[in-house]
Amino acid sequence: MRNIITFFIFSIFSLSSHFTPCAAQDLYDYEHTKAFAEHLLGTRQYSLAISEYERLVFLKPEDKNLQRTLFSTYIRAENSALGLKRAQLMYPLQERIPAEVAPIYAFMLLKNKAFDKAKDFLTNENTLSKEDKFLFLGTSNALNHDWEDALVYYNKVATDQKPIVANYREITELALQQKYKSPALATGLSILIPGAGKVYTRDWKDGLVALLFVGTTAWQAHRGFSRSGTKSVRGWIFASVSTAFYIGNIFGSHKSAKFYNQRLNEHSQREIERIFYTNF
């Protein structure tokens, strides 16, 4: 793919040099494009601004700040996935990424949840300051709900260098202190009393409904069996439905505990994201 693009760029470029007249006013030259691109950014037309910044980067490949603006435009256009692909196309080798682009590249990796790649990039790259690196690495772990490792990295950042790290640390410590629910306990409780596991994970309404469903169907089965013995079709139907609700509730209680923990984690994750995105 890269070869095709290079081919295209070169062929178009070589063609254009034949045709370009010496126009007095060139709306597509560097100055005009820059003015138009800035106008589009100013009026928040980010998707349109992308192609303008692409042109600027093409016209002045040596200007690394332009590249940074290009990627930030991708992010503002809520297309950081495409921005990341674009960056990887521009810099096939991560270690070649210049200092101006490195922070936004790391940002896009985290935004795209490419945590392994982010770790790889941050440990091998040498333009970012130690403080920045640890902050990124900590955040990478925090967004991945790995709170212990996150705190290790955040603790390595000197507070006087980066005062904001105190906020990150506070959220991470709170995340570590949270009271998680045990999926095993929830499962066990629901085996003993249908619905009890869900009451434990605070889904008490669903727990009560489960108890009601299992209870009424079991009672119906019991009525069927006590009336016509094991030949009761009704009895068997209600017994199987009741069993299914009983097992379903055990399975659901396990899931409910896991979701409860996930919700706690996601709450802290959003807090981290809020600081991370607003302070970038």
Partner: protein, 289 residues
């Protein structure tokens, strides 16, 4: 698959952004404007929009009325009728020529209609001057016909559509009158009646609205529950019927009569849509000699 797609998008952004930079003959204001028009000709509306944006930005007011007009066309073709109406409106106020102003009003009306804003379309048509020449007044009748139909005023709609036909088309006029007569039959279908019928005999309302399949389906399902209820009552007790069959019976009985009402309503809408489409078919076949 996704990766290929994303790589392709990067590729296209690159190529498109560079085309402008390198296309030698489209560089100053006038040429960029011409290039944007060329893009419309080749149906590349999104690129045309960006190029018009550029001309607007650097032109400081020149070509304004044409640009707004063309941008309206781009959005219209892209089926973004809200923006189309907005730009036709801007073009209307920038334009000085009365005939073009009237054309723009029709285009805006069309955008509003396609966005199903019949009320706004009507207001737009009210704003046209009274003394239109025959060409424009015929066109106004056409758009008023659609607007009244959309608003549910079929008597007015019929009048307007008839006036939208050139005077030579007696046969077509007769056809349109006939089609509007069919509409009366459709209007007699009553969703409420369908609902009540299905309350007493499940499925009857659906059959009344012309939906045999759903009528039979509803009848059989409800009959099934009735049989089950009787069986349970004899084998077990009324109490068993009440707790294990009745809730289900109630659910599908209610689902049935609510469904009948919905089916009747949908039938009316569908038939009206077909009738409307037929009218426009007749209009599209009118002779233009």
């Amino acid at each position: 698959m996704n990766i290929v797609k994303e790589k392709l998008s990067v590729f296209f952004i690159l190529i498109f952004s560079l085309l402008g930079a390198t296309k030698g003959h489209t560089q100053d204001l006038h040429q960029t404007f011409a290039f944007a028009n060329e893009l419309i000709e080749s149906e590349q509306y999104e690129r045309a929009l960006l190029t018009f944006h550029r001309v607007l930005f650097f032109g400081k007011g020149s070509y304004q009325e044409e640009i707004f007009h063309q941008m309206g066309t781009c959005y219209y073709e892209l089926q973004d009728f809200e923006n189309a109406a907005r730009y036709y409106d801007l073009a209307y106020f920038a334009e000085k020529n009365d005939s073009i102003k009237i054309e723009l009003t029709f285009k805006k009306t069309s955008s509003l209609l396609l966005n199903k804003d019949y009320g706004y379309a009507q207001i737009e048509l009210f704003n046209l001057p009274d003394n239109l020449n025959p060409y424009f007044s015929q066109k106004r009748n056409f758009y008023e016909g659609i607007t009244y139909f959309g608003l549910g005023n079929f008597t007015e709609s019929e009048k307007k559509f008839l006036r939208a036909l050139p005077s030579g088309n007696a046969e077509e006029k007769e056809e349109i009158k006939q089609i509007f007569k069919n509409l009366e039959k459709v209007e007699k279908i009553s969703p409420k009646k369908a609902r009540i019928l299905s309350m007493f005999i499940p499925g009857l309302g659906q059959v009344y609205a012309g939906d045999w399949r759903n009528g039979l389906n509803s009848f059989l399902l409800n009959a099934g529950f009735a049989v089950l209820a009787v069986q349970t009552a004899f084998q077990y007790s009324i109490w068993d019927v009440a707790i294990s069959i009745l809730p289900w019976y109630q659910r599908y009985h209610m689902g049935g009569y609510m469904g009948a009402e919905r089916i009747a309503y949908e039938k009316i809408e569908r038939e009206k849509g077909l009738i409307y489409s037929e009218i426009l078919e007749v209009i599209s076949e009118t002779k233009t000699d």
